[in-house]
Symmetry: C2
Subunit: 177 residues, 2 copies
């Protein structure tokens, strides 16, 4: 199954066929614990941003599964040392290519009934140091992968009424804004 | 089919269920021509970056289908005015959510035998002005959508030996770098 996840990621489209992705597969509880500590610090910083009545709901949310998930994957962007076709005017397309790989992996995981959680409440520079990533690499995603008790029929934050689903009409324009 | 493409995009995962995407559907040849002019200027700037022997190959590549494609889609990130769950430590996850939507749309297009080309040789600020986008929005992708004469069995840049496919082993690490 891991091979299928990685195959899906590695076959994502990428700017100039640069394939600028690197995946660090983490199972070691010691490494995970360092990342979990990083999450706790960032989460304590993030909580006060929400209105008081939302903070209780926030504290009950499942925001990570770092220790429980048998596999964590740190996904990095590795910039090319040569010019990349199509990347000169929009440098971010390198990062976007890595996101396409993550989304491919995520969809494959769902097809295999594997859960994937993308943990973004992390200090990217600290995670880089934890896995000894090269200086020029950039952390794009930190994923928790494993079996889950079940899948929701809607996004969890929609079910909990944290955010509403936007109407399609609100997101689509014709010819111009 | 357009509805299926948009449905796939609108059901992408997003940080904090923020759904920060906006899609401008462009069919007007006048609007397209302005974007095409923008491409030509950026492409003339990008070409000299490649080695002399690659410039001939570069000039033969199909890098955009702006005028030929019946539909162009400019995809924007619209930042939230409120704090977004999970976005405090990694602001870029807003942009990454929009990329997840693009990749979902792209896969749905392929399932419908529709071609999609992502044009990145553009000045994002100019495209913003062409479609009158709000100042705080950011152009993430410009897509050309339509029927195609055929699909390649491998990425075109791999077939043309512009870049080689990287070995999976080169992109996967265990526990740390």
């Amino acid at each position: 199954m891991l091979q299928q996840l990685l195959d899906a990621a590695l076959h994502a489209p990428s700017v100039g066929f640069s394939q600028p992705w690197e995946f660090v597969l983490i199972k070691d509880p010691g490494v995970k614990q360092q990342v979990k500590n990083c999450f706790t610090i960032e989460n304590d910083k993030a909580t006060p941003a929400f209105e008081t009545e939302k903070q209780t709901a926030y504290s009950r949310l499942k925001l990570e599964g770092i220790m429980e998930a048998p596999l964590n994957i740190a996904v990095f962007y590795k910039p090319s040392t040569r010019p990349v076709l199509g990347q000169a005017s929009m440098k971010e397309t390198g990062l976007y290519s890595v996101v396409c790989a993550v989304q491919n992996l995520w969809l494959m995981a769902r097809a295999l009934n594997l859960g994937v959680g993308w943990v973004s409440i992390l200090d990217a520079e600290k995670v880089k140091r934890i896995v000894n990533a090269p200086e020029h690499n950039k952390l794009v995603a930190y994923l928790c992968v494993g079996y889950t008790d079940g899948f929701y029929t809607q996004p969890e934050l929609e079910l909990l009424q944290w955010e509403k689903r936007k109407a399609a009409e609100a997101a689509v324009y014709y010819e111009s804004y």
